[in-house]
C-alpha cells in the first residue's frame, strides 16, 4: 500500500515532468506559438534587451552576476527600510544589517535560508515585492544558467550560449508564472490565505486572546515550491496549517518541489537530440533519490523504540504522518528546496544522514531548478574523465573532448562544497561566537552545524530546527557560504560550457564512451557517492553515524 502510494506519486511526477520538458524545449528554442512569441518580444523590447544578441560564456556570466547583484541590493534595501514602507499593516520594523544581508543573499541565491520568522519580521511588501520576486527570478536565473550550460554541451561548434535576459524572461514568463498561478489558485482553494489584511486577533476556547498571522501566502508558497526556493511565508514553513492545510495541498506541493528539476533531465535529452542521454541522468538521480527515501522511510516508520512503539512522530504533523513527512524530507533535501512539513531535527539519525548527503553532494539529486542539472553535469564531467580514459580515448561527452581546461574548472567548482561545508563547519564548530547556535549536545550538535553549512552551501535552505540561525556570526558566515555555493559553481560551469561549445563534435562510434546505458548510470551514481563519501565520510561519522551507534547503545542526544 505504502509502496503503491510512492509509486503513484513518482509516476505522476515523471509524467508531468515529461510533459513539462516538451513544453520547455519549445520555450527555450523559440518554437512557441506566434502570439506568445509576440508577447515575449514586446516584453523584451520594453526592457531594452536585444534577444538576437547571443552571448559567449563571459557575457552570460557577467549578466547573471550583474542581475543578481542588483537583485541583492534592491532586496537588501527593502528589508532594511520595510518599517517606513507601504503594505506594513502590522507595523514591523526594519531588519538588522546582518540579518538583511543573510536574507537577501539567501533569496537571491535560491537558498531561502530563513534566519528570521516571516510573520514577525517581514512586512507584506518585503514578502511580495522582495522575497516573492526573488523566488521567481532566482529560480529563473538557475534555469537560464542550466539552459546555457546545456547549450554549451549540445550546440553546434562555435555557437554562443544564448542570451541571459531572454532565457530568464522565458523561464519566468512561460514556465514559472503559469504553473505558479495554477498552483496558487489550487492552494487558495485548499485553504491557504491570500490576503493583504493584517493579522487577526481571535479568542480561543480557553478565552485567551491570540494573534493569528495571515497574509498573501498562497502566491508565495506556489513559487517557493516550484522554484525550489523553500522560504515559507510563516516561520514553520509547510508544517504550518496555513501553508499546507490538507493532504491534497501536501501532494501538490510535494509534486511541485521536484517537477522542474526532473523536467530538466528530459529537457536535456531533447536539447541534445538524444533523449537517452537525459533518461540516463534521470535514472541516476532517481536511483539515488529513491535509495535515500527508502532509508528515511524505513527509519521514520520504524521509529525509535527508546521513545515508544510505532513511527517516529516527534516533530511531525499528525495530518501527514511518517510517510508523507519522509517523502517531503527526501524531496526537499534532494531538490535544494528547503521547505519542510516536519522538523528535520527530530528525524532519526540516519534519516538525517541521508538528508545531509542529499545536500552535501552539491544538490545534484534532482537539485534546485536548473542548479541541480548543471550541478550533475559537473559530476558527469568528472565521471566521464575518470572512467573515459579506460576505453582508450581522450574522454568525451556528447562527442566533445574533456580536457585540461574543463577538468580544472570542474575541480574548481567542485571545491566549493568541501570549502563551504568542511571549512565553514569547522570554524563554526570551534568559534565560541558560532557555537552558541548549537542546541543539542554530542554528535547531534555536530549534525546541526553540518546541516546548516550543507544547507547553505547547497543552497537548500532547510535547517535542523533547534539551530540558532539568527546569531550575527551565522548570518554572516552562512551568507558568504551561500554565495560560494551558488556562484563558485555557476561561473566555472558557464566557463566549461563556453569551452565545450568551441570543440568539434565527434560522431558517435562503437569506440565512443557510451553515456546513455545502465553502465553509465551506475558509473555516475558511483562517482557522486564515492566523491561525496570520500569528502564527507569523516565528519558524517562524527555526526549522524556516531549518533546512531550511540542510539543503538541506548544513548540519545
Amino acid at each position: 500500500m505504502t509502496l503503491l502510494a510512492y509509486a503513484v506519486y513518482f509516476a505522476v511526477l515523471v509524467g508531468l515532468a515529461w510533459a513539462l520538458a516538451a513544453w520547455m524545449a519549445r520555450v527555450y528554442t523559440r518554437t512557441l506559438p506566434a502570439p506568445l512569441l509576440r508577447v515575449e518580444g514586446a516584453l523584451l523590447q520594453l526592457c531594452g534587451a536585444a534577444p538576437d544578441r547571443s552571448m559567449g560564456w563571459t557575457a552570460y556570466a557577467l549578466a547573471v552576476l550583474a542581475f543578481n547583484a542588483v537583485g541583492f541590493l534592491l532586496l537588501y534595501a527593502i528589508l532594511r527600510a520595510q518599517g517606513a514602507l507601504a503594505l506594513n499593516p502590522d507595523g514591523i520594523g526594519g531588519m538588522a544589517p546582518d540579518l538583511a544581508f543573510n536574507t537577501a543573499v539567501s533569496f537571491v541565491t535560491n537558498t531561502n535560508w530563513q534566519a528570521y520568522s516571516g510573520e514577525a519580521q517581514l512586512s507584506y511588501l518585503s514578502q511580495m515585492a522582495g522575497l516573492t520576486v526573488q523566488n521567481f527570478v532566482s529560480a529563473g536565473t538557475g534555469m537560464a544558467v542550466a539552459v546555457a550550460v546545456i547549450r554549451g554541451f549540445v550546440a553546434a561548434k562555435g555557437s554562443a550560449l544564448g542570451n541571459f535576459w531572454v532565457d530568464l524572461t522565458r523561464s519566468v514568463l512561460w514556465v514559472l508564472l503559469p504553473i505558479s498561478i495554477i498552483l496558487a489558485l489550487f492552494l487558495a482553494w485548499q485553504g491557504v490565505p491570500q490576503t493583504l489584511q493584517g493579522a487577526v486577533t481571535a479568542t480561543g476556547v480557553e478565552g485567551q486572546e491570540q494573534i493569528i498571522a495571515r497574509g498573501p501566502a498562497a502566491a508565495q508558497i506556489a513559487i517557493k515550491q516550484l522554484g525550489t526556493n523553500g522560504g515559507g511565508f510563516f516561520g514553520v514553513n509547510s508544517a504550518h496549517p496555513f501553508e499546507n492545510p490538507t493532504i491534497a495541498s501536501n501532494l501538490a506541493q510535494s509534486l511541485a518541489i521536484l517537477l522542474i528539476p526532473v523536467a530538466f533531465c528530459f529537457l536535456f535529452g531533447r536539447m541534445a537530440g538524444d533523449r537517452r542521454q537525459g533518461r540516463a541522468i534521470f535514472a541516476a538521480m532517481a536511483v539515488m533519490f529513491l535509495a535515500g527515501l527508502a532509508v528515511i522511510h524505513a527509519y521514520e516508520v520504524t521509529g525509535n523504540p527508546a521513545i515508544g512503539i510505532g513511527a517516529n512522530m516527534e516533530g511531525k504533523e499528525q495530518r501527514f504522518g511518517a510517510m508523507l513527512s519522509s517523502l517531503w524530507a527526501a524531496s526537499t533535501t534532494a531538490a535544494s528546496n528547503g521547505s519542510v512539513n516536519a522538523m528535520h531535527d527530530s528525524f532519526m539519525p540516519l534519516s538525517g544522514l541521508v538528508m545531509l548527503i542529499n545536500m552535501a553532494v552539491g544538490e545534484v539529486i534532482f537539485g534546485g531548478v536548473g542548479a541541480g542539472f548543471y550541478g550533475i553535469l559537473l559530476y558527469v564531467v568528472l565521471a566521464v574523465f575518470l572512467a573515459g580514459l579506460m576505453v582508450g580515448r581522450t574522454p568525451e561527452y556528447l562527442g566533445r573532448k574533456i580536457e585540461g581546461r574543463e577538468v580544472t574548472l570542474a575541480v574548481l567548482a567542485f571545491l566549493s562544497m568541501p570549502l563551504g561545508i568542511l571549512v565553514g563547519g569547522a570554524i563554526a564548530a570551534t568559534v565560541p561566537a558560532a557555537l552558541a547556535s548549537v542546541q543539542d549536545s554530542g554528535p547531534h550538535g555536530l549534525s546541526e552545524i553540518l546541516y546548516a553549512y550543507s544547507s547553505a552551501t547547497g543552497n537548500n535552505g532547510s535547517a535542523f530546527g533547534g539551530w540558532g540561525a539568527a546569531l550575527p556570526w551565522q548570518t554572516t558566515a552562512l551568507g558568504i557560504v551561500m554565495l560560494l555555493g551558488r556562484y563558485a559553481i555557476i561561473v566555472p560551469l558557464l566557463a566549461i560550457a563556453g569551452s565545450m561549445v568551441r570543440k568539434p563534435q565527434a560522431p558517435v562510434t562503437s569506440g565512443t564512451f557510451p553515456t546513455h546505458g545502465p553502465l553509465f548510470v551506475i558509473l555516475l551514481i558511483l562517482t557522486v557517492v564515492i566523491l561525496g563519501a570520500l569528502t564527507f565520510f569523516p565528519v558524517l561519522a562524527l555526526g549522524p553515524i556516531a549518533e546512531e551507534t550511540a542510539r543503538l547503545a541506548g544513548q540519545s542526544f
Binding site: M390, V391, E406, P507, A541
Partner: protein, 678 residues
C-alpha cells in the same frame, strides 16, 4: 620484428633505479609531481614529530616513526617507478649514442664536385644545406637527402633490421639517417638537420625521457589529482576542529597518515612511469614519436587511411584461379600455364607457376632447348617455345585473341568478363593456335587483415583504403579486405581533401605515407606516420616515424596510444576506489576514543587503532610498488567496443580497487600482529 622488440630484462636496471630514487628526493625534482611532493612533505613532518616524541620519551614514538618510514617509502617507490621507466630508456639511449661518434667528413661545395677536392670537416659542424660525400664503409654523419648516387645502406643501428636498404637520389627513397652505414657504393648527401637536432639526437632524447613533455591528457589528469589532493587537504585540516568538538584529539602524525593514504599516491606515483613506458613501447615497435601528443592522439583516431599496396594487399597481382575453356582438362591448362610462365621472373609469372604446382603437385622443369618469349609492350604476351615446336603463350585477352585469331568460347568469355568486372585481371593461355583457358590474376589480400579491420571497426575506427587503382578494382579489393570505404585513383590532393572532409565531421584521421607528395596530407592528418625510407619532407611533416617502414604499423601505433590512456584511467580509478577501505581502517581507529560505538565501522576487525593506521599506510606504499610492473607493461588491452572495455575495466579496476585494499589491509594487520610490530 627487430632486435629492439625483445623484452629487456629489467633486473639489471634495479641498482641504478634504486640510486636514482634517492636522487629524486631533491625538492625540485619532487615538485614536478605534486601528489608525491605533498606526500614527501607529510613524511618530513611526521618524521620530525616522531623524533620529537622519541626525544621526549613519549609513548607511541615508535609507531610514529614506523608510520613516517612507510610514508618515505611511498615517496621512494614512486621515484623508483619513474627511475625504472627512465632507466630502460637510458639503456637504449646509450646504445644509440654509441653510433653517434664524431667523424671527419668530406664537405662538397657543390653536389657534383669531385670528392677528391673536398675539404674535410668534423661531422658535428655540419649545417643544413651543405653537401657531403659518403663512401662505402663510412657512417652517414647526419640526417639528409641523397642528391647523387645510389647506395645500399645498413640501417640496423636505427632500425635493428640488418638487411641493407637502397637509398638513391630522386624519388621517395632519398632520405638518409645519421648513424647508418653505407655498405656499398657512395652517396652525395644534402644535410637537412641542424647540429644536435638530428633524428638520432631526437631519438636519444626521446627514449631518455629528457625532452618528455606532459601530454594533454596527462596534464588534465594531473589537475584532477591535484584537485583531489586539495579536497583531502580540506578534509584532513578541518578534522581536528570536528574532533575537538566531539571531545577528542587526533595526533598530527595520524592526520598525516590519513592524508597520505587518501590522496591519490598510487596513480600520482605511477603517472610519469606510465607515460615513459608508453613511449618506450612505441620505440620498441620501432616507431619514433616526435611528440607525446601524437601518441595520445593515436588513441583517439576515428579514421585510418591505409595505402592498399603493402598494407592491405601484398602489392603484386597473383594467380588466384585457373579457368579451363570448355572441353579442356584442368591439368592440361595448368601445365600449359606453367610452361608459358616458366621463363617469367615477375611475381605474377611466379605466382602462376605456384598455382599450377598447387593443382598438379609438381611442375615441369625448363625443357632442354626451350626458348623464352619475353613480354614486350607491343605484344603484351610472354611464353615459351619448346624444341619440339610446341609454343605456349599467356597474355592479355585481346593480345591472345589477336595472336590466335580465335575468340574464346562463349562460356570462357563470360568468365573472363566476370574477372574483369570483379576488379581482377584475366589472362588467356594458349597452346599454338588454341585458347586453353584463363588465369585469374588478382591483388591478394594479406591474411588476417580482414579480421584486423573487423577489430578496428569494433573499436569504432573506420578504415579507408587509398589506392591508385580504378574504382572497379578498388571496390572489389575493398569488399574483400573488409575496409569501410575506399578512395580510388587517389592523388595527393584527393587524399588531402578526404582528410579535411573527415576532420570537418569531427573525426581524427591517421595516415601513413612516404613520398614528398604525401607531406601535405601527413601534416594535415592528426596522426601522420612517415616511413623511414621516405623523403625528408614526408618525415618532417609527419609526427611519427616508422623505422621499419611498415605501413601496417599505423594500427600498432593506435593500439599503443589506446593502451597508454587505458593504463592511466584504470590506475586512477583503482587509486580512488582504494580510499573507501582506507577510511574504514583509519576512521574507527581515530574516532573510537570519542565514540566507542564507531568501533562498528571497523568492519575489517583490525587489531588495534595503531595497527589499523599502520596497515593502511603500509598498504598504500606496497600497492604502489606492486603496480610498477603493470604501469611499465601497460594494462592489458584487447581491441573491443568501448562499452565492453568500460565494463571490463570498471569491474577489474573499479570493483577490484574497492575490494583489494580490504583484503590487503587485513592481511598486513594480521602480519603486523603476528610479528608483534603493532
Amino acid at each position: 620484428m627487430s632486435k629492439h622488440a625483445k623484452t629487456a630484462d629489467l633486473s639489471g636496471l634495479y641498482p641504478a633505479a634504486i640510486r636514482e630514487s634517492f636522487v629524486k628526493l631533491k625538492p625540485r625534482a619532487l615538485w614536478r609531481n605534486p601528489v608525491i611532493f605533498v606526500t614527501a612533505v607529510a613524511a618530513a613532518m611526521t618524521t620530525v614529530l616522531g623524533l620529537r616524541d622519541l626525544l621526549a620519551g613519549t609513548t607511541g614514538a615508535g609507531t610514529s616513526l614506523h608510520v613516517s618510514a612507510w610514508l618515505w617509502l611511498c615517496v621512494l617507490f614512486a621515484n623508483f617507478a619513474e627511475a625504472l621507466a627512465e632507466g630502460r630508456g637510458k639503456a637504449r639511449a646509450d646504445t644509440l649514442r654509441a653510433t653517434k661518434s664524431e667523424t671527419r667528413v668530406r664537405l662538397l661545395s657543390e653536389p657534383d664536385e669531385s670528392p677528391g677536392h673536398a675539404a674535410e670537416v668534423l661531422s658535428t659542424a655540419l649545417r643544413p644545406g651543405q653537401y657531403v660525400h659518403v663512401a662505402a664503409g663510412e657512417i652517414i654523419p647526419t640526417d639528409g637527402e641523397a642528391v647523387r648516387g645510389v647506395a645500399s645502406v645498413n640501417e640496423s643501428a636505427i632500425t635493428g633490421e640488418s638487411a641493407p636498404v637502397i637509398r638513391e637520389s630522386g624519388g621517395d627513397r632519398s632520405g638518409v639517417t645519421g648513424g647508418t652505414t653505407i655498405v656499398s657504393d657512395w652517396l652525395v648527401i644534402r644535410v637537412t638537420a641542424e647540429p644536435g637536432k638530428s633524428f638520432l639526437d631526437r631519438m636519444i632524447a626521446l627514449v631518455e625521457g629528457a625532452e618528455r613533455q606532459k601530454t594533454p591528457n596527462e596534464i588534465a589528469l594531473n589537475i584532477l589529482l591535484v584537485g583531489l589532493t586539495l579536497i583531502f587537504l580540506f578534509v584532513v585540516v578541518t578534522l581536528p576542529a570536528f574532533a575537538s568538538y566531539s571531545g577528542t584529539t587526533i595526533p598530527v602524525i595520524v592526520l598525516g597518515a590519513l592524508f597520505v593514504t587518501l590522496i591519490p599516491t598510487t596513480i600520482g606515483g605511477l603517472l610519469s612511469a606510465i607515460g615513459i613506458a608508453g613511449m618506450d613501447r612505441l620505440v620498441k615497435a620501432n616507431v619514433i614519436a616526435k611528440s607525446g601528443r601524437a601518441v595520445e592522439a593515436a588513441g583517439d583516431v576515428d579514421t585510418l587511411l591505409l595505402d592498399k599496396t603493402g598494407t592491405i594487399t601484398f602489392g603484386n597481382r597473383m594467380a588466384d584461379a585457373l579457368i579451363p575453356a570448355p572441353g579442356v582438362d584442368m591439368r592440361r591448362l595448368a601445365e600449359a600455364a606453367a610452361l608459358a610462365s616458366l621463363a617469367d621472373e615477375t611475381p605474377e609469372g611466379k605466382s602462376i607457376v605456384d598455382k599450377a604446382r598447387e593443382l598438379l603437385g609438381s611442375v615441369p622443369v625448363m625443357p632442354e632447348g626451350a626458348e623464352a618469349v619475353a613480354f614486350t609492350a607491343q605484344t603484351r604476351l610472354s611464353g615459351l617455345d619448346l624444341a619440339d615446336g610446341r609454343g605456349f603463350r599467356k597474355g592479355a585477352t585481346d593480345a591472345v585473341i589477336r595472336l590466335t585469331g580465335q575468340t574464346p568460347p562463349q562460356a570462357l568469355g563470360a568468365q573472363v568478363d566476370a574477372i574483369a568486372r570483379s576488379g581482377g585481371t584475366p589472362l588467356l593461355v594458349a597452346e599454338g593456335g588454341r585458347i586453353l583457358g584463363a588465369v585469374h590474376l588478382k591483388d591478394i589480400v594479406k591474411p588476417g587483415v580482414r579480421e584486423r579491420f573487423a577489430e578496428l571497426r569494433a573499436m569504432g575506427i573506420r578504415t579507408v583504403m587509398i589506392t591508385g587503382d580504378n574504382p572497379l578494382t578498388a571496390a572489389a579489393i575493398a569488399a574483400e579486405a573488409g575496409v569501410d570505404d575506399f578512395l580510388a585513383e587517389a592523388t595527393p590532393e584527393m587524399k588531402l581533401d578526404l582528410i579535411r572532409r573527415e576532420q570537418a565531421g569531427g573525426r581524427l584521421v591517421a595516415m601513413c605515407g612516404d613520398g614528398s607528395n604525401d607531406a601535405p596530407a601527413l601534416a594535415q592528418a592528426d596522426v601522420g606516420v612517415a616511413m623511414n625510407v621516405g623523403t625528408p619532407a614526408a618525415k618532417e611533416a609527419a609526427n611519427l616515424i616508422d623505422l621499419d617502414s611498415d605501413p601496417t604499423k599505423l594500427i600498432e601505433v593506435v593500439l599503443v596510444g589506446k593502451q597508454l590512456l587505458i593504463s592511466r584511467g584504470a590506475l586512477t580509478t583503482f587509486s580512488i576506489a582504494n580510499d573507501v577501505a582506507k577510511y574504514f581502517a583509519i576512521l574507527p581507529a581515530i574516532f573510537v576514543a570519542a565514540y566507542p560505538g564507531l568501533g562498528a565501522l571497523n568492519i575489517m576487525g583490525l587489531a588495534s587503532p595503531s595497527s589499523a593506521i599502520l596497515s593502511a599506510v603500509i598498504f598504500n606504499a606496497l600497492i604502489l610498488v606492486a603496480l610498477v610492473p603493470l604501469a611499465l607493461r601497460g594494462v592489458r588491452y584487447r581491441p573491443s567496443t568501448a562499452a565492453a572495455l568500460l565494463r571490463r575495466n570498471l569491474l577489474i579496476y573499479g570493483l577490484g580497487g574497492l575490494i583489494v585494499p580490504f583484503v590487503g589491509i587485513k592481511a598486513i594487520d594480521l602480519t603486523l600482529v603476528a610479528l608483534n610490530l603493532a
